[in-house]
Symmetry: none
Subunit: 146 residues, 4 copies
């Protein structure tokens, strides 16, 4: 089997400025499944009658659901499989509503080959070209096999 | 209906040192559902044959799944419904495996009543009493209704 | 389309003593999905480390999951589609564990044609021939089309 | 680890009249997942073309899904973790439709400290302030640790 050959980019194969994307429309089901896994039944996410009385007026997605689109990119594309997640800081800028289409992007902004660490910045935009999330963090890219 | 009266603790009702908990055993299904929602099909999470060849030797949970147990507490208990999430920084300390039981805790560490912001620290521990995650962040507690 | 012809047994077609069955093995995923839908993250159901310290020693299924196997029979077999559920009383006799195989049965015990109501009794047994649940209740069977 | 310290209210800590709530909007996905777990594919729940020809005109939620919101409260809030479910009687008063928001409440109405049993009453209301379900039952609250 070739499973062991699934491997993302090592630090030598990454360039400052490399960017990758992932996008999807967030469904009601996505939000309910996210609540299901995390136990986070905050009424802002799962109670429409409550949400109508809030500042946001409608149910909103869990913030971590949006953040997870960034992790998707890190673990599957840039750097990709084998990456070890060290740390991340996120700022929530706008809410994400049911049926919003979110595009996450990750850009490599610094590389420290001696410690095998790269710093990334990430953004999530909605279909109105509004930024809903900013993140930055540190990952360890996979090491090349000999 | 009383839906609008669902309300967490306002900044006046919070004390430095207040702590709340949420815990669950992470099932294989949790990880697969998390992949389903986020599109994060990193083989480290969903490919056992691949995972056997990695440093961790087995499939591991998505880091953001663990972080989301912290958000659960913030949005449902401390401060609770009506809380607005501003920012968070997380460090991943150890992997979470299928069938690990994770206890998340959130503690209020600073309050800025003038700006209605509190700073929290959060930790996730596994069933072996090992810390798997550290986080800190800023939330805006719900405002008391008049 | 023939959808409107899906129809259970009318009260004239039911006999005292009629019995029907449904059985399945309860998986960990069933329990986690039941928590997902109902928000019931009682640690007895989803926290193995906690459950080890309880009287039952392991995670147990939600009681209502077992009761729902009875509703399955009422709504799909006896009386079947078109049945209106009026009321039910249940007693929980033993816990249901992950991987237990439960057989639910429903028996018609009384019929009141004037009011179109039947009384049923129901039992759920596990794979060790132990009764885990007893129920009885009232349903209105579907009316025959002219 | 503090898992064993997760504990609801003992009978000494409960008062007649204590009430707790849980609410959520019932999604189509909730109903389909409930069918998935219980095998209850009654067309009233999962066949819209059939449902249009019924008295209710649309697909309705499984009655036991609504009842389970009551169990959620009993097992997580009042009395909370460690509670043992003895028996329950439910009456179904109105159907629950997809996108209805249901608020369940549980109130303690009797306590029998000698046998460690409490009787509760429960109601589920929809977003139009209509009662959809009434229940009452018996639970054994958790015993205080020494």
């Amino acid at each position: 089997m070739a499973f062991q050959e699934i491997l993302g980019k090592s630090i030598d194969e990454l360039q400052i400025g490399d960017t990758a994307y992932f996008s999807k429309t967030i469904s009601e089901t996505d939000i309910y499944q996210f609540a299901a896994v995390t136990g986070d039944f905050n009424p802002a996410h799962v109670n429409e009658a409550y949400a109508e009385g809030t500042f946001f007026k409608r149910r909103i997605a869990h913030g971590m659901l949006t953040v997870s689109l960034v992790s998707n990119i890190l673990g599957t594309q840039l750097p990709g499989p084998g990456t070890i997640f060290v740390s991340e800081s996120v700022s929530f800028m706008k809410p994400v509503y049911i049926q919003d289409t979110i595009e996450a992007s990750v850009t490599i902004v610094e590389a420290d080959p001696a410690r095998n660490r790269v710093r990334f910045e990430a953004a999530c935009m909605n279909q109105h070209d509004e930024q809903v999330l900013h993140a930055e963090g540190i990952v360890m890219p996979p090491k090349k096999r000999d």
